[in-house]
């Protein structure tokens, strides 16, 4: 039976495999096309784009558009390039991701291992925040930030993103810790470890996969956010807003090559996070779904 199956598998294998790989290749090319267009055009001088074929490789290769996009392009009224805004984004994303992940992990720990009356309701309310559209909270958030004196500042943006991130990060960690054996926590209690020590020494060391998931999710969401950045960024707007200002400028020549370079620069960090941590991403998403 098994042998027969293998034979059939081998025979159908050749034809179907060529077919399957063919289709996959076509789709891969299709999805890579935008990146290809952006990359090639960001490496051309402007006349080559306006005068020629979008799909063609550059005749003269130049990094000038990248340099301009990074350090000298006109963003709004200042010719600063994207550099300062890139820094703004980093200064916003890193603490926001770190804090929301930390709080999510603690929430998950408390909700699963120190359950109290009403913990399910609290968790349900936290989940609610995953479904609230950004636009609804703009005005109340503006008033809160104003009262806290954090309007138009990076700490203000960090606060907004932490508040919004806690829902998802709690969901991730709660589900991960729900299948973590409670007997281990009890053993640690008898051994004399306190609330934070159990968390730090017992749970966190085995939380790698879910932390990767959480960090990727938070990083992409916060980095790519435009609405909060545009609304509450003030003088410290993040990369996304700057890119918009670069690309949407309505006067002068449209420097497509600079725009392309800028767009790639804006997408680069998330791309990097996926490449570095992506391997753990699926593993973490699947963790706990099957008893391993």
């Amino acid at each position: 039976m098994a042998v027969a199956d293998q034979d059939t598998a081998v025979r159908t294998g050749l034809v179907t495999r060529v077919f399957i790989y063919g289709i996959l290749l076509v789709f891969a090319a299709f999805y890579l096309l935008p990146l290809f267009v952006m990359l090639t055009n960001s490496l051309k001088p402007l006349p080559e784009i306006t005068g020629g074929n979008m799909m063609a490789l550059p005749d003269t290769w130049t990094f000038e558009p990248w340099r301009q996009a990074w350090s000298s392009a006109q963003i709004g009224v200042e010719p600063t390039g994207l550099k300062p805004y890139f820094m703004n984004s980093i200064l916003m994303v890193v603490p926001a991701v770190a804090i929301s992940t930390m709080i999510g992990a603690l929430n998950g720990y408390v909700l699963t291992k120190w359950s109290f009356r009403g913990d399910k309701i609290i968790f349900g309310l936290l989940l609610f925040s995953c479904f609230i559209p950004f636009q609804i909270v703009l005005i109340p958030m503006a008033s809160v930030l104003g009262k806290l004196g954090m309007a138009g500042s990076i700490p203000g943006l960090v606060l907004v993103h932490v508040v919004y991130g806690i829902g998802f990060s709690t969901l991730y960690y709660r589900n991960y810790y729900a299948v973590f054996p409670t007997e281990l926590v009890r053993a640690a209690m008898i051994d004399g470890a306190g609330f934070f020590r159990i968390f730090w020494r017992i749970l966190l060391p085995v939380s790698g996969p879910i932390t990767v998931v959480c960090v990727i999710w938070q990083f992409t969401n916060i980095w790519n956010d435009f609405l909060f950045g545009a609304s509450f960024g003030g003088q410290t707007q993040p990369m996304t807003v700057a890119l918009n200002n670069l690309v949407q400028s309505s006067t002068g020549v449209k420097e497509y090559n600079v725009h392309f370079a800028g767009a790639i620069l804006a997408a680069l960090p998330t791309l990097l996070v996926y490449i570095v941590a992506g391997r753990y991403f699926v593993r973490g998403l699947m963790a706990g779904s099957v008893k391993g």
Binding site: P181, E183, L184, R186, A187, A188, M189, I190, D191, G192, A193, R197, R201, I202, P205, V206
Partner: protein, 370 residues
């Protein structure tokens, strides 16, 4: 006043009381086994001793110190869990010394204690491994080692052998017994396995539906069970319990019982106090090993009574042969020598050791004799 005193302890979840007025006093160095079916409250009681569950009313004290509300780590207890609960991210050595580290014991002392216990349990070569690389029996040893390193006042075992395969379970059972003989620490041990309870304990508490049904030495529990539940729970195969009528013959109470052919036979009781039950129905309890072939009967017994009946099924089990017969409308199991000459379907004269018989009140199911 014992070493570990459980006084009038109850446990309720909301309006539901799951443990009812438990009173157990354990002397220092005793091995107490809490045994009962799932849901009888034995693990809850253990967790209350450990401090992992609150006490609804009553007191638990260890060495004359009341433990109600005291944090688990401050009770000087150690617990071995059913799943072993080894920390997966730490090595065996780190697992075993984690408790000492948390209690602020300096490193040289920790190392010394670890070395002693590792030697005692013969796990010195495993100290650098992670729990994931160990076999079930090794994990079991490490879990015990983690408890031993702390040198606690009381050891708590929560079904520690139930995750092991049958052969290993027997081996580890012996090891635990040896360990207790050597260390003489007070142990409270939870299990649903009555053989573990009988072999390990110095005293057994049989629990059922949140009540301690009986507290006593293994021999007391086995020979004079407090009620029908204890009688049938302890022992394998279970004690035969059948309805009989008490009749007085020559001034001595007898059990009148109908064999398969309908003829009434009379088994003389050794307990004269059953005269008060003359003419009434009672429940007669006889262990399988008290019903044998005449040659296999206990020679020290003063009251071996013959019983003629037809043999039902015979089950040779190697060391013994079990014989099933119909008596008083119930299936009754007898335990014969392996080479007893029994053939199913034949009439046979059994020898019943009535000295070991127990009588129960049919209404309350409490023991009335001996």
């Amino acid at each position: 006043m014992g070493f570990l005193d459980i006084k009038n302890v109850t446990k309720s979840y909301g309006a539901v009381e799951v443990l009812h007025r438990v009173d157990i006093s354990v002397q220092e160095g005793e091995f107490l086994v809490l045994v009962g079916p799932s849901g009888c409250g034995k693990s809850t009681l253990l967790n209350m001793i450990a401090g992992l569950e609150g006490i609804s009313s009553g007191t638990i004290s260890i060495d004359e110190r009341v433990m109600n509300g005291v944090h688990p780590s401050k009770r000087n207890i150690a617990m071995v869990f059913q799943s072993y609960a080894l920390y997966p991210n730490m090595t065996v050595g780190q697992n075993m010394t984690f408790g000492l580290e948390m209690h602020g014991v300096p490193k040289p002392e920790r190392e010394a204690a670890l070395k002693d216990v590792a030697k005692l349990l013969q796990i010195e070569n495993l100290l650098d491994r992670k729990p994931g690389q160990l076999s079930g029996g090794q994990r079991q040893r490490v879990a015990m080692g983690r408890a031993l390193v702390r040198q606690p006042d009381v050891f708590l075992f929560d079904e520690p052998l139930s995750n092991l395969d049958a052969k290993l379970r027997v081996d580890m059972r012996t090891e635990i017994k040896k360990l207790h003989d050597k260390l003489k620490t007070t142990i409270v041990y939870v299990t649903h396995d009555q053989i573990e309870a009988m072999t390990l304990s110095t005293r057994i508490a049989v629990m059922y539906q949140g009540y301690v049904q009986q507290l006593g030495t293994p021999k007391e529990i086995y020979d004079t069970p407090a009620n029908v539940y204890v009688a049938t729970f302890m022992g394998s195969p279970a004690m035969n319990v059948l309805p009989v009528r008490v009749v007085m013959r020559d001034g001595v109470p007898h059990a009148a019982v109908r064999a398969q052919d309908g003829a009434e036979q009379y088994l003389r009781f050794s307990q004269s106090n059953l005269a008060a039950w003359d003419g009434r129905e009672i429940l007669l309890g006889v262990r399988p090993e008290a019903i044998t072939d005449p040659d296999g009967a206990d020679r020290n017994s003063a009251n071996i009574v013959p019983l003629s009946n037809r043999i039902g099924v015979t089950e040779p089990a190697g060391a013994d042969t079990f014989v099933t017969m119909e008596l008083g409308g119930r299936d009754v199991i007898a335990r014969m020598r392996a080479d007893a000459n029994v053939v199913s379907g034949q009439d046979f004269t059994f020898a019943v050791n009535m000295e070991k018989a127990v009588a129960f009140d049919p209404a309350s199911e409490e023991r009335i004799a001996p």
